[in-house]
């Protein structure tokens, strides 16, 4: 039996062992150099792996930073359940932040379109980082997810107004990360930059990491809208004229706000089956997300410059 950090196979590290060692190294550098780090925790599979790596990096100490969930109030119920449990199990403080303005104005994905993501997530994140004075925030973004991510540094510098300038990125060489910054400036740090979706799934499988059950197929109430299968997760879902939730065997490849996340019809109910389906599938992971399509081709790059993760 080989585990990611188990006995070495003839002293040759596997790709997962190298990735794991790199991620742990990155996290320790942040803790050693930042004054007030925090881990952005979104309850998805990438967050699950990142949290697991944090436990490994600092064992036997608990990870020496809090978890921050910038919530939109529109996540799946199952995500809230796992979020609270995961923080408890890791012995970490969990901070949940809601943008008060978004709350007051009742911003929601049904009536407000792109404004929903902008106010709850992008603005909410900036507000939360400013409120607590965090100077380094771990995020679970991967370079294989999206084209503009492929060029982002692992230690990604942000101005005092949280902006990312893709043209003025610091060169990043060897295993040397420049974490220096002036007061008010901050770092977004992506410890799993070099992991692919397949690596994430394999690692979850190998290390037996708990993930939200929504990644596994089960009969769930759904409606079909604009070519996406949307799960009716609670009674806030405004059904249109003649629309009736239909039970379908579905699962999710990526998790976000439930009204914005498309499901796939699937019979994959175990991890190996999920991986099998992922490998044989013909559409990319972010395709189920409405958010990437706003504003055309360079949509994510634009969001990132404005401070989105």
């Amino acid at each position: 039996m080989t585990t990611a950090t188990g006995q070495l196979d003839a002293m040759r590290l596997t790709h997962l062992q190298r990735l794991e060692a790199e991620s742990i190294h990155i996290m320790r550098e942040v803790v050693a150099e930042a004054e007030r780090p925090v881990m952005l925790y979104s309850v998805g599979k990438d967050s699950a792996v990142m949290l697991h790596l944090a436990k490994k990096a600092f064992y036997p100490s608990p990870p020496p930073f809090p978890l921050l969930h910038v919530d939109t109030t529109w996540k799946f119920k199952a995500m809230y359940d796992l979020r609270d449990k995961a923080a408890r199990d890791a012995g970490m403080e969990l901070l949940v932040y809601h943008n008060p303005e978004a709350k007051e104005r009742g911003i929601n994905p049904f009536d407000h379109g792109p404004l929903h993501t902008d106010m709850w997530k992008t603005e909410g994140l900036k507000q939360a980082l400013d409120l607590y004075g965090f100077d380094a925030a771990f995020g679970g973004a991967r370079r294989d997810e999206e084209k503009s991510r492929a060029k982002e540094r692992i230690f990604s510098f942000r101005t005092a107004s949280h902006r990312w300038d893709p043209k003025a990125q610091r060169p990043e060489l060897w295993r040397l990360y420049n974490a220096r910054k002036n007061k008010g400036e901050s770092m977004r740090v992506f410890p799993i930059s070099n992991w692919t979706e397949l690596d994430i799934w394999q690692y979850i499988h190998l290390e037996n990491i708990e993930i939200v059950p929504l990644y596994f197929s089960a009969p769930r109430p759904t409606v079909e809208r604009d070519g996406l299968l949307i799960m009716v997760d609670d009674d806030r879902f405004p059904l249109r004229e003649g629309e009736q939730p239909v039970m379908r065997s579905i699962r999710f490849r990526t998790l976000g706000c439930y009204p914005l996340t498309g499901a796939v019809e699937s019979a994959a109910a175990t991890l190996p089956e999920v991986i099998q389906e992922m490998l044989l599938t013909t559409t990319s992971e972010r395709q189920g997300r409405v958010i990437d399509k706003d504003g055309g081709d360079a949509s994510m790059e634009k969001k990132k410059q404005e401070g989105y993760f």
């Binding site: 196979d9 596997t14 490994k56 610091r170 295993r175 420049n178 930059s193 690596d199 790059e301």
Partner: protein, 638 residues
């Protein structure tokens, strides 16, 4: 399934996924990882090759392919054919310009390996990006356009790959389809390249004829090149031996990142093992202190390990409570690393602002950050001709060799032996930008041979005899602000109080000690460094030193502050607005500068960085010189 597909490793994988996923996962747990870079000139087809590798290893999904086809028709350069380059050119700006402008990382995997590709641009001004991409690579693919042969750019890329220590070089002669797969063309290019490679110390390389656009010899042997008997690009990438394996055979070294101390009963040292292996019971030495102990445990969340090797992140426990903290290096006791504070290194400059010899920069190496100053370069390398050129400084994308010194002794190894303990970055102390990357050649013996001569009459004694506390009153401000006038008044007042003082004035020092220096940024830095050293010797002699220098840069004023004993450096900002100083223009210098007769004049065409938190602030618009002097003396001797 056709023969071609049945022999294709990618499609065999597909069958296994469908038939036995558990078996597939088992196989894929044992994959290794290879990181490589592709280098080529603008039109050599780098992005196309990477796009092709992604496409052939099925890393491109249907929706991406649909977008790609649409994009190819809209902005592509290949007519109606799929333009694979569009897959990898990420940022909006460069998609419009049709060029790659930064380092991008791509991922694909086969049965045997996971690959991380650094896509690095070929433009001359982007040496910085290529060095960055190469720093983490195990292998370099040097692309050549078969129609053009070995170009200046080819030489540059090969030199940089070799400089950064990449031992596995692949010469991919691309666009063979455009020369009718002519063996003669291929052989001539390989011969040409071999001669050049040998001249810069590349002993081995693997050459292959390919077409990224057509897919020849990428994943399958091409029927178009029957004369070629070597491996396909993918076969080679899957089987070549990686450097990480060699690191395991070297002596044990680990830089301490973080001390893990959850409670009084546990104290562990966390880090990533750079080279070698470690087992409980091994004797280790901590550098630079030189203290020794024995490893008792290798702690991980999954349980203690019997052995750990290069590339793993671990936490070590020792038998003894010895001093060990972040920045220290743990090495095997009988073969430890050296420590030194002066080095010769190759430096790659990566910032718009040129190197200022003598200016203090942060130097990060391993897990420690120290202050370092770089001397004037011994030479700069012309990366196209490899000639050595005389250089006073290094500007963006320049590569040179220089000596540098650190403010304390640091454990290190030559870069050729250890990238982690021999590679460093320089960071600007004001902007925090990463301004350079460096590779240590060796330490300078001088560090060992010039000892500090301990003297019996101490600086405390000097001060006691004079019955005063030594200090430096450092007056900084624009030309014409009134520094010299105020400094002179301060010294007169102190003399009347029987204090032993000395006034160092900018103009006067430039007549003697610093008469070889001009007014470039580099010379200004050296000017202040020398004055700082003189002031320091004078405080050792017990004097109160008053200086009057424009000293426009914060970095140098901070450097002088660091030289002095704590509390002995008092920064005095003689604050006069530029308009007011220019109006006074006592020496007529502003008029000359405005007329263009005087270059690099502070406030006109050279910046002044005002102190952010000076000990004493003098506003000359609301205070006479006499009052200012009185205030400074009152602050020095309350």
């Amino acid at each position: 399934m056709s023969d071609r597909l049945a022999n294709d490793p990618i499609y065999r994988t597909d069958a296994l996924i469908a038939e036995d996923i558990e078996k597939y996962l088992e196989v894929h747990q044992h994959k290794t990882m290879l990181r490589f870079i592709t280098c080529g000139s603008v039109d050599d087809g780098k992005s196309t090759l990477i796009g092709r590798l992604l496409y052939d290893s099925k890393m491109i999904f249907e929706d991406q392919l649909a977008a790609l086809e649409a994009d190819s028709r809209r902005v592509g350069t290949q007519g109606q054919e799929i333009d694979f380059a569009l897959l990898v050119d990420g940022l909006a700006a460069e998609r419009e310009q049709g060029i790659t402008i930064d380092v991008a990382y791509r991922f694909f995997a086969t049965e045997k390996r996971k690959f991380i590709v650094a896509d690095t641009p070929g433009h001359e001004q982007y040496t910085r990006n290529m060095v960055t991409g190469a720093s983490t690579a195990d292998l370099a693919v040097i692309l050549i356009d078969a129609r053009k042969g070995v170009l200046v750019q080819t030489r540059r890329h090969s030199y940089l790959a070799h400089l950064i220590g990449i031992r596995n070089i692949v010469l991919a002669v691309n666009k063979m389809d455009l020369v009718d797969y002519d063996q003669g063309v291929f052989d001539a290019i390989v011969k040409d390249y071999a001669e050049f490679a040998k001249s810069i110390g590349i002993d081995n390389f693997v050459a292959m004829p390919i077409s990224g656009f057509r897919g020849d010899n990428i994943t399958t042997r091409s029927a178009n090149t029957p004369w070629y008997g070597g491996p396909t690009l993918m076969e080679h990438l899957e089987t070549v031996e990686v450097d990480a394996t060699a690191d395991t055979a070297k002596p044990f070294r680990m830089a301490v990142q973080w001390v893990n101390r959850p409670n009084l009963d546990f104290r562990g040292f966390s880090g990533l093992i750079s080279t070698g292996t470690i087992r409980p019971g091994d004797a280790v030495r901590v550098l630079p202190s030189g203290r020794t102990s024995t490893v008792t445990r290798i702690v991980t969340l999954n349980g203690d390990l019997d052995e750990a090797a290069a590339g793993q992140s671990v936490t070590l426990c020792f038998a003894d409570e010895i001093d060990c903290s972040r920045g220290d290096v743990i090495a095997i006791a009988d073969d430890p690393v050296q420590a030194a504070d002066q080095f010769e290194a190759t430096i790659v400059w990566m910032d718009e602002n040129e190197l200022l010899p003598g200016r203090p920069y942060w130097l990060k190496i391993g897990t420690q950050t120290v202050t370092a100053t770089v001397q004037q370069p011994k030479y700069q390398v012309n990366v196209n001709t490899l000639e050595h050129l005389a250089a006073k400084t290094l500007d963006l994308n320049a590569i040179g060799v220089a000596n540098l010194s650190t403010d304390r002794s640091i454990p290190f190894e030559p870069y050729a032996q250890n990238r982690d303990l021999g590679g460093f970055i320089l960071i600007d102390k004001m902007t925090n930008a990463t301004v350079a990357a460096g590779m240590i050649h060796f330490s300078l013996r001088r560090a060992d041979n010039v000892h500090w001569q301990a003297t019996d009459v101490t600086r405390e004694h000097h001060a006691q005899v004079k019955n005063q506390k030594p200090a430096v009153l450092w007056l900084t401000g624009l030309s014409g602000a009134g520094k010299s006038t105020i400094a002179n008044l301060v010294e007169k007042k102190l003399a009347r109080m029987n204090r032993h003082t000395f006034l160092l004035d900018g103009d006067n020092v430039r007549h003697g000690l610093n008469k070889d220096l001009g007014f470039t940024d580099a010379d200004r830095v050296e000017n202040i460094r020398r004055v700082g050293e003189v002031a320091k010797l004078m405080t050792d002699a017990g004097l109160i030193v008053i200086t009057a220098f424009i000293s426009p840069f914060r970095a140098e004023r901070d450097m002088v502050r660091q030289m002095m004993q704590p509390g002995e450096f008092l920064e005095v900002h003689i604050d006069t607005p530029l308009a007011e100083a220019e109006k006074r223009d006592v020496k007529g210098l502003y008029r000359k500068a405005r007329a263009g007769d005087l270059k690099n004049f502070t406030g006109i065409d050279s910046p002044y960085e005002p102190p952010q938190d000076p000990e004493i602030h003098i506003d000359t618009t609301s205070m006479t010189a006499e009052d200012a002097a009185e205030e400074i003396v009152r602050r020095l001797i309350p």
